[in-house]
């Protein structure tokens, strides 16, 4: 029988991690062991997470396909569904429709140096790719991570950051907007810090995600560093309902973010009409 694209897989929350005052991470497994075993996705793909009775919202699967004990979603509280999700606890049931959308062109990135630039909740989509690459470390060149947040308490995945900082195969930089007592890392806006770190654009790809204003200036910074449009990858966010290119609200001209995205190179974005 044809799959019902609207019927979510039932899933159980295994663990809830409070990341920041408005971000929570959920580790979930599909209830059907078969489905969980056969679940496959690529870094960058998203899922529609349901709280039945409230609705669905779209989140990137931010655990990597190389670690399939659970699927991880990080949820920033903005509206009805995200608020509801924030009230859930381990053991609670949710629905998941995944994977949806395209993925990072991680195959094309093989052999290249990688620069991740993430801001705030924008770290979530980068995390999946970063971990994937770390799990396939030999395939990639130098990996640089620049992750910034407003302040240390707004920084998600803090429990992993020490590990990342300690690795010698990963060049990790953390930054916050303004000085903060006890903060030992960089202080400054992401684009400025990026210019300080000045990763080489030679045989490199930059992947960036974050709030619109950060993206705007990060793109400018990358440009200054010599990154060409084809070397810059980012992800877009839109209000989505069906997630499969039918319901008609996430299009930018002919492109449906839920199908053709959410990952776009800057070169692709330039082809799209201006309606972000």
């Amino acid at each position: 029988m044809t799959k019902n694209i609207y019927l979510p897989e039932m899933a159980t929350i295994q663990e809830v991690i409070r990341e920041t005052h408005n971000i929570m991470t959920f580790r979930v497994t599909l209830n059907n062991p078969e489905a969980m075993k056969n679940f496959s996705f690529k870094p960058g793909q998203v899922g529609q997470v349901s709280s039945f009775g409230t609705g669905e919202a779209t989140f990137v699967i931010n655990s990597p396909p190389t670690r399939m004990d659970y699927l991880q979603f990080s949820v920033m509280r903005t509206g009805e569904v995200t608020s509801k999700l924030h009230s859930l606890k381990a053991g609670d049931q949710i629905g998941v429709r995944a994977p949806l959308g395209n993925s990072f062109p991680y195959e094309d990135m093989k052999g290249k140096d990688i620069v991740f630039v993430g801001g705030g909740i924008g770290m979530a989509p980068l995390r999946t790719l970063l971990l994937y690459m770390l799990d396939n470390r030999g395939d990639y060149g130098k990996i640089t991570l620049l992750y910034g947040a407003r302040s240390p308490v707004d920084m998600a995945y803090s429990y992993e950051l020490q590990d990342w900082l300690g690795r010698d195969d990963l060049d990790t930089h953390l930054t916050i907007d303004a000085p903060y007592e006890g903060w030992e890392h960089k202080v400054g806006l992401i684009p400025n810090v990026l210019l300080d770190i000045a990763p080489s654009s030679e045989n490199s790809v930059a992947i960036t995600c974050g709030p619109p204003i950060m993206i705007k200036f990060t793109l400018q910074a990358l440009e200054k560093l010599g990154f060409k449009d084809e070397q810059i990858v980012t992800t877009l966010e839109k209000r989505m309902k069906c997630g499969v290119g039918i319901c008609g609200r996430c299009n930018i001209g002919t492109s449906y973010v839920c199908m053709d995205g959410p990952v776009f190179t800057r070169a692709q974005l330039r082809q799209l009409p201006n309606e972000l």
Binding site: T2, K3, N4, I5, Y6, L7, P8, M10, S50, F52, G53, T54, G55, E56, A57, T78, G79, E80, V81, T82, G91, D92, Q93, G95, E237, K238, R239, K241, C242, V244, G245, I246, C247, G248, R249, C250, N251, I252, G253, T254, P273, N274, E275, L276
Partner: protein, 353 residues
Amino acid sequence: MAKVQFIKSADVKPWLAELAKEHRVFAPSYDGEALLFRPFDPEQEIVLDRAATMPPKKTIFPQSEKLVDFTYSKDPENLSRIKIDAKANLPEGSTVVFGSRPCDARGFTMFDRVYLSDKNPDIYYQARRKNTLFITLACRTIENTCFCNWVDSDPCDPTGSDVLAIPVNDGYLLESVSEQGEKLLNSKLLADGSSRRAEAEKICQEIAGSINNTKDLTLAPEKLLAVFDNMEFWEEVSAKCLSCGACTYLCPSCYCFNITDETTGMKGKRLRSWDNCMSAQFTMEASGHNPRPTKAHRLKNRVGHKFSYYPTIHGGVISCCGCGRCIKSCPAGIDIREIVLKAIDFVPAAVEE
């Protein structure tokens, strides 16, 4: 070879009554001042000489439908362990729509390309679509708002129909279009109509001749894209738009929807309901950001989708069937034809060096 039958005007109702034994039958009749496709009722007059207020869109794409039924149940040992049972109920049974117009039936072909894609078929739509047959009535009269001929169709276009009925003097000539349609034409009330084909063809030609002059819309996709960033253009053409959903909801080819959940006690449902791209809510994000904040942005998307994006994606087919309902029903009298032509004719102001 298509089956060709003839039915006398007076036999239409008895025939529908026959069909209603096996199918749900919808036919146009008045509800108040609105002419709607309503469940066939022998007591009610069927009105066939004019286009219905609403296309028969609801017969395949209901205004709202349940996608998922869900039930919560508690573990009596631990009340906070809640099981959720989610079930989808697919529509069953077959439907015959009588009296749809060629533009109405053709509208669903716009749906098909999206809802019946190989990758992500919509099984709710699919279940209704394959079991819904259209006995389409060729148009005998043309209205000021008709422009099916602009969008590669005509008043006798059988595309999307199962049977095409052509009104002749004393009845209707019924030509099967699909196999399923052919099966509908087995009634004893019907007689062989081959002899009247010429007459019907003549009528079709006559009508085709009376329709408004066609316009060439080949350039529409690229021209609409060319004015994408010209907000002044869009603000001007959308100035009188009220952002209501009359145009989209009456459009045979508008297929956007919303998904919302409702719960009552321990039961709930996930609903799919018509949505309207002219509404600010349509693209409003939880953060309050709206990529289409003004009616100019939204009208641009509506016109753009129909005459540019859809054709670009789907091999040049314009996602408009020219029925003209959006023009007729628009409370502000917006004429989509005017906008498309304006975009095609638009010459950007020369930039002074």
